[in-house]
Structures are given as structure tokens and as C-alpha cells.
Amino acid sequence: METVVENMEAQNAAVGKKENDLIVLTEGLCKSFGDNHVLKGINLQIARGENVVVLGKSGSGKSVLIKCLVRLLSIDAGKVIVLGHDIPALGEEELNDVRKKIGFLFQSAALYDSMTVRENLEFPLREMKNQSKDEKEKQVIEDLKSVGLEEAIGLMPSELSGGMRKRIGLARTMILKPEIILYDEPTTGLDPITSKEISRLIISVQQELKTTSLIITHDIECAKITANRILVLKDGVFVAEGTFKELEKSEDKWVRSFFE
């Protein structure tokens, strides 16, 4: 645990040096569903190599925010730039090319339940024509090893536990070697021990692939392990920003209540 925190501090220092190398940039991002204004002008900047956690209560619009980043939801107003691409302006083909560089771990892991674990991991590779079958197979096994589940290769998603599903989901997210991984509540529904394991896995994946991570959560332990910067979302806007230690001592009672 201490090693993880030390790593995070080292990364923080590295991130400071690369502030101009932005992976994600949003300006005035707004999203409403009818009269429900979920995001009210979000400004977000994530530099390469950063691990950013967005904390917020359930229903505060955290998931909506990351869905807007990959255009699973269209935005009402504002700017969304990911990996240098203006996401709302991209054509379908260009968007698919950008999406291949973005990993997305869903809250439920969203494994394809009619496919085995192997087929789930092979699915994103199906359009990689420059890879042979053997290379794809090798990559699937490597990714399963890095989440510690190589023995699950022939299982169906229905045969996996919640923690295993998350790990397999993470392995599938890693398979295209993304530059940024978006995690939607990675520890929701898991017991504290498995939650910690998943949080540590996020860090090890980040170090192995040298990716940037945006983690949406309301699990404070997950934020503590994974974040080198935390943003707190309330009523559609960020109300606080800082490291875990800074926010823990925040003067804002509402922000501090998360850490108590």
C-alpha cells in the first residue's frame, strides 16, 4: 500500500512536468435529459500519465461525463477534445479509430454473455487485420495473465464472480493497448477486499501500459489507492480539486464528508 502511494507521488511529480500534453480537455461541457440538467459546464483537463478520480454522489452525473467523452452520449454544449480529436465533430469511421485508443471499463463489466472469456477478449481484435491468429491468441493469454485469470479462458461470463468479471472486463479493455482508460465505478458491488485488489490492479495496469486513467467512483478507498488528483462533482459542476491529502483536510464540510 505504501509503495503504491509512493508511486503515486512520483507520478504526480512527473505529471507536473507534462501539463501541456493534455489527453482530455473539456470546456463548458453541458448535458441535460429533458429538464434534468446533469452537467452544467464541466471544465476538465487530464495530462498524459495522470490518474484522475472523479468523486461524487450517486446520480451526480459522473457516468454521464465519461460517456460524453467517448460519445456514447451526445453533448448539448461545450467542447470535448480527447487525444487531440474534437469528439463531437468526428465522423463515424474517425470516431471508431479514436475509440480504439480509449479503453472503457463499464460498471457491470459488460461482458458479452453469449461469448466465452476468450471470445470476449478476441472481439475487439477482430478488425486488426495485421495480426495473425497466433498473435491474437498470445495477446489474449498475456492480458489474462496480467489480471491473474488465465485459467478462466474457456469460461462463460455467467460462470464468473463479480470480481472476476471486473478483471476480465479490464483485460478486454487493455487488449487494444489504449492510451487512456476510463473506469466507470470499477469497485461498485464488490466486497472491500476485492475492491482493494481491483484498485491495485488499476495501478499495475496503468504502470504496465503507461496509460492515463480517469476513474469515476464514490468508493473513497479506491480513490485513495488510485488517484494522484481528485475532482469532486456536485450538482453538475466540479466543486473541489486536489490530492487525496488536500481534500481530506478541505474546509468545505460537504467535500470533507466524503473522506470521513
Partner: protein, 262 residues
């Protein structure tokens, strides 16, 4: 969807919903035609879906087709016998089955079995974010999930209809032989003798439209489901209801067109 619904608020809700549904299905169909000719083609998935639609519906279609032929023969026989026209029985049953009953009954069975299956499967994939996961992986879920299933129903339903017609005629042959003694060759030569090109060809062509309508509506209802687990049941249900309704509407149009050209 939202913008269209606000533009036509002067209409009663049920009429507005109807037009929005028609608009949604039309756009979805347009997207199908835009995607179906684009590479890469999902041949193995089309084959898998064809197996599911065709082979796995075979048992139900066999039983239904057989009973359809048998019952039609048994029910028609007394009336024809009253006019001394029992020899017309094979021809009459063949025309009824091949022109109308075979295609429509088979399509309705497929709208129930296949349509509900596709609707529920895609809807459950939608609500569990599996379709979103495919999208963010940079693959095209529409091509993989929708195009393959629509092609499978488009190709398999005509074959199932041919199979059901054949089994129906065998059922009819057995029905004839319950109270009589007619050889298999004689029965089929009498049945085929009464069939014209205009009986067979339009009936066969319309089955492709049945297959397409069943597939596209089931996929549309599943793919656009957005009301959580409640929506899965709703998608399966409306895939069957709208699919069956479309079968009757296509049949009505096909009959009008066929009689116009005849």
C-alpha cells in the same frame, strides 16, 4: 427523437407515437442498407444466426406445417364430397398451402419464436451495456448484431416456408389416406398439376419480405430499448406484435400486386 416529438405536439399522443415509431423503423432500415454492403462482411456470424433462425425453428415449423396440411384436408373433405369433387382435394389444398397458409403461418411462427428471441437478446445486451461496450471498442455493433440477424431471417424464412409447404402437403396426403386410398405419386402429381407459376412465384417472393420485416423490427425493438429490464420484456413483446402485423400488411400488399399482374 426528442426534437421530432416536440415538433408535432399538436397530434394526440398515440398518433404521434405511431409516426415516431414509423420514423424510427424507417431510419433503422436506412442504416441497415447503408451498412449491409460495407466491408468487412460478417459471414461466420450470418452463418451462426442462420443456424439459430433456421435449424432451431425446424421442429416447430415441421409440427405446425404437418398439422396445417392434415387439418385443412380433413376439414375440406366433407364439403368437397358433398359436390362429388373429392378429386380436387389435393389441388385445392396445395394451392391454399403454397399461396397463402404456408407462408403466412410460417412467418407468424417465426415472428413469435425468432422475433421475440432477437428482440429480447438485443434488448438485454442494450440494458447491460454490452452494445455500448462494442461501440467503445471501435467495432460496429450494428453490423455485427443487426445486419447479421436481418440477413439470417431474410434468407432462412423463405427456406422454412418451402419446408413447411412440403411438410403440409405430406400432412395433407396422410389426411386424404385416412378415409381413402391414394398413392403418394398420384397425390403429388394431382397437387402439382393444379399449381401455376403465379401461385408459386409471388408466394415465394413475399416470404423474403416477411423475413426482412420480422428481422428488422425485432432488431429495431431490441437495439433501441432503453427502459431497463422492463424494456427487455417490452421489446420482445412488441417485436412479436409489430412483426406479426407487418406480415399481414405485406401479405395484403402482395395479394393486391399479384392480382394486378395476373
Amino acid at each position: 427523437m426528442d426534437s421530432s416529438s416536440t415538433k408535432i405536439t399538436f397530434l394526440p399522443a398515440s398518433i404521434r407515437d405511431f409516426f415516431l415509431e414509423v420514423d424510427g423503423i424507417s431510419r433503422f432500415t436506412g442504416q441497415f442498407f447503408k451498412t449491409v454492403f460495407k466491408r468487412p462482411f460478417e459471414f461466420s456470424e450470418v452463418a451462426k444466426q442462420s443456424f439459430i433462425v433456421g435449424y432451431k425453428s425446424l421442429g416447430l415449423v415441421t409440427v405446425t406445417g404437418f398439422i396445417m396440411g392434415l387439418v385443412l384436408t380433413i376439414q375440406s373433405r366433407p364439403t368437397l364430397a358433398r359436390f362429388g369433387a373429392e378429386s380436387w382435394l389435393p389441388g385445392m389444398v396445395a394451392i391454399s398451402i403454397i399461396r397463402e397458409i404456408g407462408p403466412v403461418i410460417t412467418a407468424l411462427i417465426c415472428a413469435g419464436k425468432v422475433g421475440s428471441g432477437i428482440g429480447a437478446e438485443l434488448a438485454s445486451m442494450k440494458v447491460t451495456e454490452q452494445i455500448d461496450a462494442m461501440e467503445v471498442a471501435g467495432t460496429n455493433p450494428f453490423r455485427y448484431l443487426v445486419v447479421t440477424r436481418v440477413l439470417a431471417t431474410l434468407l432462412m424464412i423463405p427456406l422454412l416456408v418451402i419446408f413447411a409447404d412440403t411438410v403440409g402437403l405430406i400432412g395433407s396426403y396422410i389426411g386424404v389416406n385416412i378415409m381413402g386410398d391414394v398413392g403418394l405419386r398420384l397425390y403429388f402429381s394431382q397437387a402439382i398439376e393444379h399449381l401455376d407459376f403465379v401461385d408459386v412465384f409471388p408466394a415465394f417472393i413475399k416470404t423474403f419480405f416477411f423475413g426482412f420485416a420480422i428481422g428488422i423490427i425485432a432488431c429495431y425493438k431490441g437495439y433501441t430499448c432503453n427502459k431497463g429490464t422492463e424494456g427487455v420484456g417490452l421489446a420482445a413483446n412488441s417485436a412479436v406484435v409489430i412483426g406479426s402485423l407487418c406480415v399481414f400488411i405485406i401479405d395484403l400488399i402482395a395479394v393486391q400486386l399479384a392480382s394486378f399482374f395476373m
